[in-house]
Structure formats: C-alpha cells, structure tokens
C-alpha cells in the first residue's frame, strides 16, 4: 500500500517503515496514515507486527537491544526518528497504555503527579491537586477513588488500575494515546467501562489501539489496519474493512474469527 499525495492532514504518517530484530525482519515497508481524533485499530494474528508497529510510534522499540528501524514516522509534521528529536519528548506527546495494568507501587495521587512534576507541567500543591482531579475525572475514576487518593495504586481492582494508568497518561497532556491490548487482561464488565471511556477520549486525543478482539475493533474504532507477518495488508474505515475486505488474507482472518 502506497501513500499518495499530500499527507499533512494526518496526525501520524508512517512511511516505508522497516524494523529488524537482529535477523528477524519484523516490519516490512509499512505505510500507514492515521487521522486526528479518531480511534484506529491495529488487528492481525499474533506475531503479525501490530504491537511492534505501535511501539514504533513512541519509539519504545529504541529500548530493545538489536533493533534496527528504517523509514519515517511523522507525527504533527515532524519525523520522530530525526536526529534533532529526543525520544523522551516523543513519549511525552505520544502516551502509551499497556496490556497489563502497571500502576507504580505508589499512591494513586503520586501515580498521576509523578510524570507531570518531572516535566514541570504543574507545581506541587493546588496545581497538582487539580491536575489529579481533572485526570481522574477524564478517566472516569474520580468518583471511585476521590476518598482514597493516598492509598496505593496497586490496591485497586484490575479495571480501576487500567483506568488509573489511562489517567496517568492523560495527565502528561499527550496528543496521541497508544493502547496495546488494554483490555485483554480484564473481565468483560471492566472491558465495557474502558471501551466507553475510549469513546469519550477520542474527542480530545488521537487513539491507536492494538487488539486481538475483532468485535472490539468493530465496536469502537473509526479506522482499522490489518497486519499479517510484518506487512500491512489492508487499511480503511472500520465499516468498509469489516463489510468488504478487499484482500483475501483479510477476508480469511475476519471470516475465520466470525466463524
């Protein structure tokens, strides 16, 4: 799939992105454009490179030894792999939520203020307090935890922990949130709560989600991209892609799953 013409209207554009883990060619010439304030779902069988691709969008793959990346990932008109871009600053603007809820073993309050204080987004005191409140409200967690802000984040239930992680990410004021199978470790009810939350967040943030649950992709996403063995096979609006997949691989995957 080639990108044609002007790409400046997109929030994120990956151009000819290749990634090698040692000898393993994990991403093969991926081109993908992602719209602002939409939810884009990345789907595909396990090992297809969808999570690897996601981690390229905030340079998390830089942390792994023996990874080599070629190509460009343009966020807000700037290639994040350019020499004058600091990967730390990239991650500040492109937040990430992981598969396993991973709150720090600190209080709920500190979980949220940790990064904003380091980034000097807020000062200690009332500024920090109001940030905690607004972040928790955005994550739909405020009413549940407002009386126990100083108890450890790890004391919450799994679903609450994941919403705390989302609140923590929002607090840094990113423009993009990456979610790597954010509900796969949760029960159906918590999953529903988080899906609802994502629908709300999409008004403020560009969200890219990796999921192996196709119903989830169909329910919440605006656009979907299907990966297979490191290649981007097909992309389109979610409606289109699920209704009339053009590629045979996509058809097989979607039909196979739907039975």
């Amino acid at each position: 799939m080639k990108l044609n013409g002007d790409t400046s209207q997109f929030k994120i554009v990956a151009e000819n992105l290749n990634l090698h883990y040692g000898d393993n060619h994990a991403l093969k010439a991926v081109d993908l454009a992602i719209n602002e304030r939409e939810i884009t779902a990345l789907i595909g069988p396990s090992g297809c490179g969808k999570s690897t691709f996601l981690r390229c969008l905030n340079r998390m793959n830089d942390l792994i030894d023996e990874v080599q990346i070629q190509g460009r990932v343009i966020v807000d008109g700037k290639n994040i792999y350019d020499k004058d871009v600091d990967e730390v600053a990239v991650r500040k603007r492109v937040g990430m939520v992981f598969q396993q809820p991973n709150p720090f073993p600190k209080s709920i309050f500190e979980n949220i203020t940790y990064a904003p204080l380091k980034h000097k987004l807020v000062k200690k005191g009332t500024e920090a307090e109001s940030l905690v409140e607004s972040s928790l409200k955005s994550a739909g967690l405020w009413s549940e935890v407002k009386d126990k802000l100083h108890s450890p984040g790890t004391s919450l239930s799994g679903g609450q922990q994941q919403r705390l992680c989302i609140a923590r990410t929002i607090a840094v004021k990113p423009t993009v949130i990456l979610m790597d199978e954010p509900t796969s470790a949760l029960d159906p009810i918590s999953t529903g709560v988080i899906e609802d939350l994502m629908m709300q967040l999409r008004e403020k943030f560009t969200i890219v989600i990796v999921t192996h649950n196709m119903q989830q992709a169909a329910r919440i996403s605006d656009a979907t991209a299907y990966f297979h063995l490191g290649e981007l096979v097909e992309t389109g609006t979610t409606e289109d892609l699920f209704a009339n997949p053009k590629e045979k691989l996509t058809q097989d995957y979607i039909r196979g799953r739907f039975g």
């Binding site: 807000d76 994040i80 871009v85 600091d86 730390v88 600053a89 380091k118 980034h119 000097k120």
Partner: protein
C-alpha cells in the same frame, strides 16, 4: 527549532543529570575492576622473584668431620653464603650414599636466603665483606639465580630458602577429600529429599530456614564447633585433615544443597510424568532419571563449594591447622596444614624472603581456584539444556 513540535528545552537539564548517574555507576565499576587488576598485578609482582632461587658453586668435602660439624664441609668464606638447611642435610646424604665419604665434589648448592635477597635487590642484612665476596663469585660465574624447584618439592621450613609448599598442597588435598566425601553425599541427599519427597509442612520449612541461616553463620564459628565438638567432645586428633575436613564440610553443605536443589528443580516435570506413566516408583524415577539429568548442575555447584572451602582459613586456625608442618602428611589423621593456612603462617614471618613465598603461595591458590571455577563454567555451558 520552531518547526520541531518535540523540542523541549527542559530536557537538556534532565539529560545532564542522567549523565551523572551513568558516570557514577561507571566509576564504581572502574574502581572495582581497577582494584582487581592492581591486586593481581601486585601479587604477581611480589611473587615473581620466588620463581628463582640463588645457587652457589662450591667445593663440598664429605669428610668424617663434616658429619658432626656440617659447616666444615665448605670453605670458611662460603659458610655465610651456603644455605644452613642444605648443610644440615649433609649427614643424611652421606648416610644414603656411603661412597661420598672422603670425596670432594664441586656442586651447585642452595644459597642462604640473605644472599638470595641480595641478588634479587631486596632488603638484606649482609655485611660489606660478604657482599664483596658475592660480587667476586658473580664475576667468576659461580653464583646464579635459577629455577626454584625447592618451593614445590619441600614442606614448610623455618629457614626461608628451604621452605616449600608441598606439604600444604598435600594437606589441602587430604582435607578437601574429607570435606567432599562428607558434604557431597549429604548435600545431594538433602536436596533430593527437599525437592522430591518433602511435603510442604512446618518441618520442611524449618530445614529450609535453617540451611539459609547456616550459610550466613561466620566461618570462624564453625571453627568453634570443630574445636569444642570434634576435638574436645569426640576426641578426634587436633590439627588434622580429618577434623578440618569435617568442619569445612558443614560449611560447604549449604552451597551444595542450594545448587543441587536448583539443578533438580530445572529437570522438567515431563520426565517424572513419563516415569510414572511407565509404572516406575518415585524412587526409581528420582534415582535413574532425575538425579542423572541434574548431575552436571549438582557437580557445578559442588565445585563452587569446593573452591570456597579450599580458600577457607579462619575455622582451620581455630582447630590448630596452622601448625608448623615440615613433612608431607601421609594420612588424614596426621597433623597437617593447608594452602591458605601456610600463606597465613608465612605472612607472619619476620624474614623478608617469606614475602615473595607468601605471594607465590597466593598465586598457587588463585590458579587452583580459577581453574576450578573455569571447570564449573565449562560444565555448566556444556550440559546447559533448555527445556
């Protein structure tokens, strides 16, 4: 910079403080490696002179008089130059070879330690007259530094040039034989019991806590145990490889148990299930399949335990294994010394000549330890199986 949405001026400062942490941790590694390097260099430098020993060519007259007054066997001016220990040996030489009596032979014989130290440029207490004499011998080429075979052939001696490490090596070997003969079977049996048979109850937990504590008890306290139980209570002979080996065995036990347990645990459950599937009893499975598979791992751990026991000194001092042992011990119930104890004894000697011997003894210990560890690493690599 204005077209870079990711430009963040505060990061400069944050990265600088990051650099400090990296620098500090790198400095500590450099300190550690630097120390190791300097230490090894210092030991080798100190030990190197012990490779050679001074010998002097002299006319030895095996007369009847020399049997009684050994000093008279060499010309008068040589009496301060030739080793006293070598002279003392003359009567024995003559006893062994009666044909020597009445002959005069030109021999290269061991020189005195002061002469040796003088030739090596170390501190010595020779008088000017003696120095002049040695200088004359040097021009005549009848004095030389040569390979120090004495060091490996002799036992300990109060005369520095005659002191060697042989009896300590034999003592160490005997002691280690006792140690491993006790610690290996008991350690492996304990590990097999805890991993394969023990139920998860208070007794098992108590044994486990206990093994952990045993590993943390200072070695010198094992010496107190050896002294008051093995020597005073059981009446076993003091200063012997038997008591030393028993004491060290108890110290080595936790190391062997812990590593043997880890090795047994790494044997996959499928092996055991396959055995049950064939109708074997638990004992058969453990004995014929699990333990043989775990054996390389058990051996690796045991070698590491052995290496630690070889270098142990404190408990052996308490049970008297720092006795002066000139002769090589023949059995585990004879008084003996071990390598590190020999090093300790030499380190306390006032004569300068012992300094290089001490360092040489240390090099011998380090070579043994490094080869043992290398063997352990080799075993681990060779039999490393990923299940």
């Amino acid at each position: 910079m204005s077209n870079n949405p990711f430009y963040d001026p505060s990061l400069k400062h944050r990265h600088r403080s990051a650099y400090m942490l990296k620098l500090l941790s790198r400095l500590s590694i450099l300190f550690t490696l630097g120390f190791l390097l300097f230490f090894l260099f210092d030991m080798v430098r100190t030990a190197l002179p012990a490779t050679w020993q001074a010998y002097v060519q002299v006319e030895v007259s095996y007369s009847e008089r020399a049997k009684k007054f050994t000093r008279t066997a060499v010309p008068k001016e040589y009496r301060k130059v030739v080793s006293r220990a070598w002279l003392r040996n003359i009567p024995r030489q003559m006893e062994e070879d009666p044909g020597l009596l009445g002959t005069t032979q030109l021999l290269w014989v061991l020189a005195d330690d002061q002469v040796d130290q003088y030739l090596k440029g170390h501190y010595h207490n020779l008088k000017e007259k003696e120095i002049a004499f040695i200088e004359r011998l040097k021009t005549e080429n009848t004095i030389k530094l040569d390979w120090n075979g004495v060091f490996f052939n002799n036992g300990d001696s109060k005369i520095p040039e005659y002191a060697g490490i042989r009896s300590a090596i034999v003592g160490s070997v005997l002691t280690m034989l006792v140690t491993m003969a006790i610690a290996f079977p008991i350690g492996v049996m304990t590990a097999v019991y805890l991993e394969e048979f023990a139920k998860d109850n208070a007794f098992t937990h108590f044994i486990e806590v206990n093994i952990n504590n045993l590993a943390a008890i200072p070695s010198i306290l094992f010496g107190l145990l050896g002294l008051s139980v093995f020597i005073n209570l059981f009446g076993l002979p003091r200063s012997t490889p038997l008591v030393g080996g028993m004491t060290l065995a108890l110290m080595t036990l936790p190391i062997i148990i812990v590593s043997a347990r880890a090795a047994l645990r790494s044997v996959p459950a499928s092996i055991r299930q396959a055995g049950y599937g064939l109708g074997l009893t638990k004992l058969d499975i453990v004995k014929d399949h699990v333990v043989p598979i775990a054996m390389p791992g058990i051996l690796t751990g045991s070698i590491i335990g052995l290496a630690q026991a070889i270098g142990e000194t404190a408990p052996l001092i308490i049970i008297g294994m720092i006795a002066f042992i000139p002769d090589t011990p023949q059995s585990i119930v004879e008084a003996a010394t071990v390598l590190p104890a020999q090093v300790f004894t030499w380190a306390g000697m006032p004569e300068r000549a012992y300094v290089e011997k001490t360092a040489a003894g240390i090099i011998v210990i380090l070579v043994i330890l490094i080869s043992l560890n290398a063997t352990a690493i080799y075993l681990r690599k060779k039999y490393e199986t990923k299940w």
